[in-house]
């Protein structure tokens, strides 16, 4: 192990990160109100959607917040802070039903995978994967997100 890798291991032990696999978020419920959807849609530069349809990009923050987490809490869980500490590798978002304003979605999430990796340049990072489900009041799943983050060490 190189001195750099030793420093990383001291700061954020790999075992601590691997122990997060299976970690359940608190869970909860989340309603998307009209004003929030309006602003969100406006930020994307698209026309407002009809009939209380929520912009599909809400699947980033609504699942996180509804699961009882925040982006800051996820950073803390992954032990990262500051500019450049987090990278976005990818998303896999599934839409089983259109998302609607003023629906109380049940939200449940968990860490599904963590892997310590290094870049071609030898920079250490943890691949951090979490998945969250949104369920309608009648028990039908509305959406599932799986997000892939890069936590740089």
């Amino acid at each position: 192990m190189s001195p750099v890798e030793t420093d990383v291991e001291d700061a954020v032990p790999e075992a601590d990160m691997l122990a997060l696999i299976g970690h359940e978020f608190p869970g909860g419920s989340r309603r998307i109100e009209h004003w929030e959807n309006w602003l969100l849609t406006d930020c994307t530069g698209f026309d407002q959607l009809p009939d209380g349809t929520v912009h599909p990009i809400a699947l980033f923050h609504v699942p996180i917040q509804g699961s009882g987490m925040t982006i800051a809490a996820l950073f803390a869980l992954g032990r990262v802070e500051g500019a450049g500490s987090v990278g976005l590798d990818g998303y896999d978002w599934e839409y089983f039903k259109p998302l609607r304003e003023d629906v109380d979605y049940r939200v449940d999430g968990r860490v599904v995978d963590v892997e310590r990796c290094s870049t071609d340049a030898g920079r250490i990072y943890d691949r951090f994967v979490f998945s969250i489900d949104l369920t309608e009041p009648d028990g039908n799943i509305a959406a599932r997100v799986t997000n892939f983050w890069r936590l740089r060490r």
């Binding site: 530069g45 698209f46 912009h55 950073f75 500019a83 990278g87 976005l88 998303y91 978002w93 599934e94």
Partner: protein, 135 residues
């Protein structure tokens, strides 16, 4: 007009990525990551004087392209990877092409290769599954 394999999805452009929208988005997301709103914080990572667009906003331009094409309820799945950051004042264009069409759960679905490009460079790449509207 029937959608077929190989069809090009009409492009959707964000002509100028706006730092003010990033600030609003950061508030909606409750996102404390300074790269989206603090130009000074980005000096240390080589983007001094600029701010980095949120990943969800980059993906939203692709979602907008798909909704403009097949309606607001058409998206069934988005699988994407993010490349280089998109910065304020960038001009980005969402593009897509139909790879295959299948019948699933009583609807015709197109699996599409999707990209977000800046000056011809792919900054988001991936696959979308889209329910095709009645033709």
């Amino acid at each position: 007009m029937t959608i077929h394999e190989g069809a090009q999805i009409p492009k959707w452009a964000m002509e100028r990525v706006d730092a003010q929208r990033m600030k609003t988005m950061a508030a909606i997301l409750r996102d404390p990551y300074p790269v989206h709103w603090d130009r000074d914080a980005n000096e240390a990572i080589g983007y001094g004087g600029q701010v980095i667009n949120q990943g969800p906003l980059n993906l939203s331009y692709i979602a907008n392209m798909l909704m403009a094409w097949q309606g607001p309820h058409c998206i069934r799945r988005l699988q994407v990877a993010f490349g280089r950051p998109v910065l304020d004042d960038d001009n980005v264009v969402a593009t897509g092409i139909v790879d295959s069409i299948d019948e699933v759960d009583g609807e015709r679905r197109a699996t599409c290769t999707i990209t977000l490009q800046r000056d011809g460079e792919d900054v988001v790449t991936g696959t979308a599954v889209v329910a095709l509207s009645d033709e």
